[in-house]
Each structure stands twice: as C-alpha cells, then as structure tokens.
Point group: C2
Chain length 112, copies 2
C-alpha cells in the first residue's frame, strides 16, 4: 500500500478533529489527525496499547502522563500503554499529526 503524499488525504472540519485512516489491521493503525485551531483530542488512556504522535504540520500541545509539551513539525511523543495522553491545537494554524497505535484498540487478532 503506497500513499504518494499524505497531504492529499488530510481534511479538516469545523465540527471536530478529523481522523483519516492510512492503514489498519489488528496489529496497528496509522492515522492522520487533523485539528483546526481550538480542536483537541481529550486526555484518555488505553490499557494495553502504545500510541505515537508525530507532528507533520503546525504546532500543538501534547499531554503524556502528567507532562504537557508544545511540539512543532518534526516533534513526536509516545504514550505507552496506561499513560493518559491527548493533544490540543492551541495554535493559530492547522495541525496535522501522524498517529500510530499498536495493537489496534478495536480490531482483534484472529487468534484472540
């Protein structure tokens, strides 16, 4: 599966943060999260799933555990299983984040 340029898939909605799935299986998903100014993914956690956020465009504030950090393009963070995490676009521009999570939280292994 090849995607020539993720920018052709990114989209925004005034109503809420957009999640665009690039790939998913029971092993992992890879999504684009597209946030307009003021939008956020509220803090939450996953019992048995690790999540990577990697900033592709813009800036935002990322929460992992008890720490918050502002990250821009080329910044990333990981929320290991059990750690609260979230992101908010508190900038004036669009924010696009590559997000991978493993395993997929809602597609279960054929063997499980």
């Amino acid at each position: 599966m090849f995607i020539e340029d993720y920018r052709r898939l990114a989209r925004f909605d005034e109503g809420k943060m957009q999640k665009i799935t690039l790939f998913e299986s029971h092993r992992m998903f890879a999504d684009l999260y597209c946030l307009l100014p003021g939008q956020e993914q509220r803090a939450h956690s996953h019992h048995d799933n690790d999540k990577l956020y990697f900033v592709l465009e813009g800036e935002g504030t990322f929460l992992v555990g008890a720490s918050e950090t502002r990250l821009g393009v080329g910044g990333c963070c990981v929320a290991p299983a059990g750690e609260p995490h979230g992101v908010r676009n508190d900038s004036d521009g669009q924010l696009v984040v590559l997000v991978t999570m493993a395993p997929h939280p809602s597609i279960h292994s054929p063997g499980s």
Copy 2:
C-alpha cells in the same frame, strides 16, 4: 516521552544505513532510518508484523510485495505481515524515514 525534533537524533554513516530507535516495547517500535545515497534495506519480510515507512526527508524507492514506488517527503507505504519490503536511497541526497512496526519483532510480550 517527548522528542522535540527528530533532526537532532538523525545520523548517517558511510558504512551502512543507520537505525535510531525513538521508542520500543513489545507492542511496537518507532525508528528513524537514515540512508545516504546508495544505501538500502534489502527486501525481507516478517511473518506476523506490519511495518509503516513514512518519508521525512529526501527521496527513495520503496518495495512492498511485487511493487516498487519512488516516494518523497510526505509519502508513505505499509508492508502488511508476510509482504516482502525494503527501501533504497537511489537519490543524490540523504533519506530519512520514520518506521513503525507492530508488534516488535524481537521483544516478546510478557504474557507470551
């Protein structure tokens, strides 16, 4: 775990492609692959692991299954479990790729 800018971690070596681990657990790893012109990761496959390649800098040719595609910044591809895959830097510049794989091929789940 926060990384302000992956570019501070990227490094190259004339001897071979460099892999820089950003994060790893039994669930997944996230690496930077840093390839000088002419360097490659030869085609190989993993029985039960999905791999995502996401181009951060430069251009390279990516193999997935029987298909090869040239990808530049913002391009990505996924090799699902069992699909042969690889990458070569057949450009004149440096190539940096974010790579995530799930589950980790050599760190085993505590329960397994």
